[in-house]
Symmetry: C2
Subunit: 595 residues, 2 copies
C-alpha cells in the first residue's frame, strides 16, 4: 500500500483563494477561526490520517471485520486507532458546542473528512455515520433524548448507525415492514434489517441505531414510516450503559470492498421487542431521516473525493518511480514521461481538483445556509445545497470509481496484484455509487425533487453565475484562458439547453426525463467541475501576472490542469446532453420485451 | 452466481446474417462445415459451458489456485472439468488437422471461446494460452520440435504458457535479462520470470513454456531476444514425460480477480540451467512471439466480450426478477420497468452486440487472410486483422470493465456482496485491459505500427466501406434507420478527420499522437461498433419488411438496440475526436513537473 500525504497546498488554495475561507468570519453564529488555526488543524489531521489511519487501511482490507459467537470484531489496530481519534477530539469537530462539540464550520470538517476518507475509508465511514446521527438527533430529537444520547455520540464514546434497508425494501424504502408497537412512552421494535454499516462492532460499548419502522395502523407506503432511536444497550438517566437491548447481529456480509467496515444483518426483538424511542413525529420518519441522508449523501461524495485523491497520489508516485521504456531520445525513463501515462494522470488530477472545489464550495454553502444573518441568503444557499447534494454524491463517486480504475491501469500488471493496494481502492470505491441512494436514485431525485420543485430556478441561478463569470473571462488574455473560456461556454450552453428540455420532458413524459436523469446529472457535475477549474485558473493567472510568488509552479499547474479539464473532460458534455435528452427518449420508448 | 445461457440467437444472427458464415464455404483449404454443423457445435459447446464450466466459476474464485510445498493446485472440480473438456475434444478445435486438430475456422472457434470466457474466464485462459502456443509452434518451430510437442498440446495432454515478463521488463520487453547459454543443440536457461498465467498447475502432467531470453553476445534491447521452448518435464523421442526440467514456481500472485488462474513467478535454472529449444531464428524471438501475441490479443478481446455478455445476462435477469418500486400507475414492478435501469441494460446490450459483431467479423477476416485463393484478398484481410487487433483488444476489454461495473450498479447493494457474483465479474474483467499489452500499448501500437506503416490506407479502406454503406442506408425509409444513419455519418466523419490529424501529428509531433492514441482507439472501436450495429439494423429492417417471420421480436430488438447504440453511445465520438487530437496535444505539452 502506498503512503498517503494530504494535498495541503490544494486544500489551502481551494479554502482560501477559490471558495473563500474569510467568508466564515462574516457568520456571527459560528465560532471564530483564523486562517492560521485552519492550517494548524489541517496539519494535525493530516498527520493523524497519514500516520495512524493510513497504515491500517490495507490491514483492515486483508483481515476484515469478523463475526464470531455473536460478537463483531474489527481488524487489528482499529480499536487503538479509534481511541486515539476519540482522544484527539476529531469526532467532536462538527457537533454543536452545546452538546460538547467544537462547532467547526462544515467547510473545515469537509476537509477533515477528505483526509479520513483518503486515509482509511472503512474507518472513516464509522465516524461519518456517527456524525450524521448527531445531525439528525440535533434537529429532531426531544431535549430529553438529546441530553441522554448526544453528548456520548459527540464524544465518540458511542457510535451511530442507520437501520433502513430490508430485503424487500432497498431503493423503495416505503416498502419496509419492520414494526414498532407502542408500549407506554416507548416502542417495541420487531423486524430484520440489512446493509447496516457499522451496525455492530467492538470499538465502543454502545451503538445507537436510527431505525425506520412502521407503527400499527399507520398508512401504507412512505407516509406510514416513523423513526426510532434503538440502542444496542439501554442506559440509565446518567447515561450509563446497562442491560442489552433485544438486537442481535445475525451475519455480516462478505463484500467486494470496505472489508473493515462490518455490514450487518440485524434482528430486532426476538422476544418482547427491542426498546425504541420515537424521533420526531409519528409517520414523519422518512422526512426526518432525509435530513440525515442529505448530510450523509454529501459525505459519500466526500468519500469519492478522498478515494480519488489517494488513487491519484498512488498513480503519480508510481509513474514517477517506475522506470520502463525509453523516451524519444532513447533514454530509459520513469513512465510519467510517456504521453499516455501523462494523459491518465492529468485526467485524474483534473477531476480530483474539480471534485475538491465543488465539495468545498458546497460545504461553504451549508455553512451560509445555516448561519448567515440574512434569511434570503440562507434560503438561497439552502436551495443551492439541495440542488448540489445529489450532484456531488453521484458525480464524485462515479469519478472515484473511474479514477481508481485508472490508477490500476497506470500500474499495469502490478495494479492487479492486491499487495500494491491499487486494487483495494478500486474495490472500496465501488460502494460509493451504491449506498445512501444509488446514483440512479440521486439523478431522479435531482430532477423530481430539486429541478421540478422550483421549475429549474436554482439551476438557472448557477447557470447565470457561470454566464457572468464568462463575462469576466472575456477580458482576460492568454491562450490557455481563452481556450478554457470557449469550452466552458459551450458546455454551459449544453447544460442550459438540457435543463430546459428535461424540465419539459418531466412535465409531459416523465419516463423520458427519468431515462435521461443520470446523464443529466453527470452533465451538470462536469460543467460545474469545469466552472470551478476555470475560476481557479483565473485566480492563478491573476496571481502569476501581478506578483512575485514563492511557488509559481503551483499556479502554473492550476492553469495547465484547468486546460486539461477543459480540453479532455468538458467535451464529454456534448454526448451527455444528447443522452440526457434525445437519448433518454429513445431509452424510455424501448419496449421492455426487446431488451 | 447467476446461471449462464449462451446467446444462441445473436450468435447465429451475427454468424449467418451479419458476417456471412457461407463465405467460409468459398475457402477451399478449410474443412467444409455446414450451417447445421455449426448449430450442433454451438449447442454442444453451450451445454458444456453452462453445465460444466459455469458452475465452477464462483468456486474457482472463492477457493483460488494454491501453491503448497512447491505444488500448484487448482480449485475443486477444475481437474475433472479439464479432463471433460479434453475428452470432448474442445482443445483441438482450432489446431490444424495435420497435428491432430479439427481445423475449425477462426470464425467458429471465436464463438466457442466467447462461450468459454463467459462461463469461466480463469479456466478458459488456460486453453487460450495453449491455443496461442499451438499457433506459434505451428508457424515457427522446426518439424522435429513440432512432432514432439504439437500433438500433445493439441490433444490437451499438455498446456502452453508464455514466459515473457521480468520485474524490470514489463511493457518494455526489450529490457529482459533471462539468459540462454548454448549447450550443444540446446540451450541452458537461467533467470526469473513473473506474471506467467497458468505457468504451473495440476491439470496436466506437463506444461510447455514459450520463453523469451537473451543468448550471450546478442545485441542489447529488442533485437537481441530469442524464443525458447522450455517444458516443465523433459520428454523422450516418443513424447513420454521424463525428468523434471530445472524450473520451479516460487510464488503465485494474490490478485484482484481470476483467482483460479495461477499467476506464477518461476525460477528457471537454479543449477545447470533449464533445458530450452530455440524456436525460430536467433535474436528474432520477439517477432516470433508477436505472431502468438496477436492471436492472444484478439483472444483477450474475446474475453472482454465473454465477460460483458455474462454481466449483461446477470443484470437483465436480476432486473426482470427483482421487484422494487412502482411504475407511473403505482403498481409494484420488477426494476426493469424503471427507465434508468432500462438505460443501463440497453447500454450493456448495445455494446455487447457491437463487440460480438466486431469480434466475429474480424475472425472471418483471419480465415480469409489465411485461406482465400486470391493473394490480394488474403493481403487485404491480413491488413484488416492487423488494424483491428489492437482495437478489439482494447475497446472490448474497456467495455467489459464498464459493463461489469454497470452490472453491479443494476444490482444495487446486492451487487456489492460477493455471493451475488457481480463483483467477481467486475474483478475478473479488470485484468483484460492490462495483460497481453496494456490498452495504452495497444493504442500506441495501433498508431505506430498499423496506421503509420501504410499511411492510414487500411483505416481509410474501412472508412470508405462505411461511406458506401451510408449510400445504401440513404435509400431506406423508417425513422429509426434514418436516425441511425445520421449519427453514424457524423461519427464516421469524426473518425476520418481524427485519422488524418493523428497521422500528421505522428510525423511532426509523435508525443501528441501518443497522447491521443487511447481516445483515438476508442473512437475507432465506437464507430466500428456503430457501423456493425447499423448493418444489423438494416438486415433486420429488410427482413421485417419482406417476410413473415417466426421471430419478429428478435429483429425488432436489433433495430431498437442499434438505435440505442447510435443515440447513446455514438455521440461520445465527438469528445473522443477532441481528446485524440487537440486534447492529446494539450496533454503532450503539459510539463511533467506540473502534474
Amino acid at each position: 500500500m502506498s503512503d498517503y500525504c494530504p494535498p495541503y497546498a490544494d486544500m489551502q488554495f481551494v479554502l482560501e483563494e477559490l471558495v473563500g475561507l474569510e467568508t466564515l468570519g462574516t457568520l456571527p453564529s459560528l465560532a471564530k477561526i483564523s486562517a492560521e488555526d485552519v492550517v494548524e488543524i489541517l496539519n494535525q489531521a493530516g498527520r493523524f490520517g497519514s500516520e495512524i489511519l493510513s497504515p491500517l487501511n490495507q490491514i483492515g482490507d486483508q483481515e476484515g471485520a469478523k463475526l464470531k459467537n455473536g460478537v463483531v470484531s474489527t481488524p487489528a489496530g482499529f480499536q487503538k486507532a479509534y481511541k486515539a481519534y476519540q482522544r484527539a477530539g476529531w469526532g467532536k469537530a462538527s457537533a454543536k458546542i452545546a452538546f460538547g462539540g467544537q462547532g467547526l464550520p462544515r467547510l473545515i470538517t469537509t476537509v477533515l473528512f477528505e483526509i479520513w476518507n483518503s486515509a482509511n475509508l472503512s474507518f472513516a465511514l464509522c465516524n461519518t455515520l456517527t456524525d450524521s446521527a448527531v445531525t439528525l438527533l440535533t434537529k429532531h430529537a426531544t431535549p430529553e433524548l438529546q441530553t441522554i444520547w448526544l453528548p456520548r455520540l459527540v464524544s465518540g464514546d458511542w457510535t451511530g448507525a442507520m437501520a433502513i434497508t430490508e430485503p424487500q425494501a432497498g431503493s423503495d424504502v416505503g416498502a419496509l415492514n419492520c414494526s414498532a408497537i407502542p408500549d407506554g412512552k416507548v416502542f417495541r421494535i420487531k423486524g430484520q434489517k440489512n446493509y447496516i454499516s457499522w451496525g455492530d462492532h467492538d470499538l465502543t460499548d454502545n451503538i445507537v441505531h436510527l431505525l425506520l419502522a412502521r407503527i400499527p395502523d399507520s398508512p401504507h407506503g412512505s407516509n406510514g414510516i416513523s423513526l426510532f432511536l434503538v440502542p444496542k444497550f439501554l442506559t440509565n438517566q446518567k447515561g450509563e450503559v446497562g442491560e442489552r437491548n433485544e438486537m442481535r447481529c445475525l451475519s455480516i456480509e462478505k463484500k467486494l470492498g470496505i472489508h473493515a467496515s462490518p455490514t450487518c444483518v440485524i434482528e430486532y426483538g426476538s422476544n418482547k421487542g427491542a426498546l425504541g424511542w420515537l424521533i420526531g413525529e409519528k409517520n414523519r420518519g422518512l422526512s426526518a431521516m432525509f435530513t440525515m441522508m442529505n448530510t450523509a449523501r454529501l459525505a459519500i461524495g466526500h468519500q469519492g473525493l478522498g478515494i480519488a485523491e489517494r488513487a491519484f497520489q498512488q498513480a503519480r508516485n508510481f509513474a514517477n518511480s517506475r522506470v520502463q521504456g525509453r523516451n524519444q531520445k532513447g533514454k530509459l525513463v520513469p513512465i510519467i514521461n510517456h504521453p499516455d501515462v501523462r494523459r491518465m494522470l492529468l485526467s485524474m488530477k483534473a477531476q480530483v481538483e474539480a471534485m475538491r472545489a465543488l465539495c468545498y464550495d458546497t460545504a461553504l454553502s451549508v455553512d451560509l445556509s445555516e448561519n448567515h444573518q440574512d434569511s434570503k441568503i440562507r434560503a438561497l444557499h439552502k436551495g443551492r445545497v439541495a440542488l448540489l447534494t445529489p450532484i456531488i454524491k453521484a458525480w464524485c463517486t462515479d469519478r472515484a470509481v473511474e479514477i481508481a480504475s485508472i490508477n490500476i491501469q497506470v500500474h499495469g500488471g502490478a495494479g492487479y496484484i492486491e499487495q500494491t493496494g491499487a486494487a483495494q481502492l478500486y474495490r472500496d470505491a465501488r460502494i460509493t455509487p451504491i449506498y445512501e441512494g444509488t446514483n440512479g436514485i440521486q439523478a431522479i431525485d435531482l430532477i423530481r425533487r430539486r429541478l421540478i420543485s422550483d421549475d429549474g430556478f436554482m439551476m438557472n441561478v448557477l447557470i447565470e453565475e457561470m454566464r457572468q463569470f464568462d463575462g469576466i473571462l472575456s477580458t482576460v488574455k492568454g491562450n490557455e484562458l481563452i481556450s478554457i473560456r470557449g469550452r466552458l461556454a459551450e458546455s454551459g450552453a449544453a447544460l442550459s439547453r438540457a435543463t430546459h428540455q428535461i424540465l419539459n420532458a418531466a412535465k409531459i413524459n416523465p419516463e423520458n426525463a427519468d431515462a435521461g436523469a443520470v446523464p443529466y446529472l453527470c452533465l451538470a457535475g462536469t460543467v460545474l467541475g469545469g466552472y470551478h477549474m476555470a475560476r481557479a485558473a483565473l485566480i492563478a493567472d491573476t496571481k502569476l501576472s501581478n506578483k512575485k510568488l514563492d511557488n509559481p509552479k503551483f499556479y502554473e499547474a492550476k492553469i495547465s490542469t484547468a486546460l486539461n479539464f477543459s480540453e479532455n473532460i468538458l467535451p464529454k458534455t456534448a454526448a451527455l446532453e444528447k443522452a440526457a435528452t434525445s437519448g433518454g427518449a429513445v431509452v424510455a420508448n424501448t419496449r421492455i420485451d426487446l431488451i
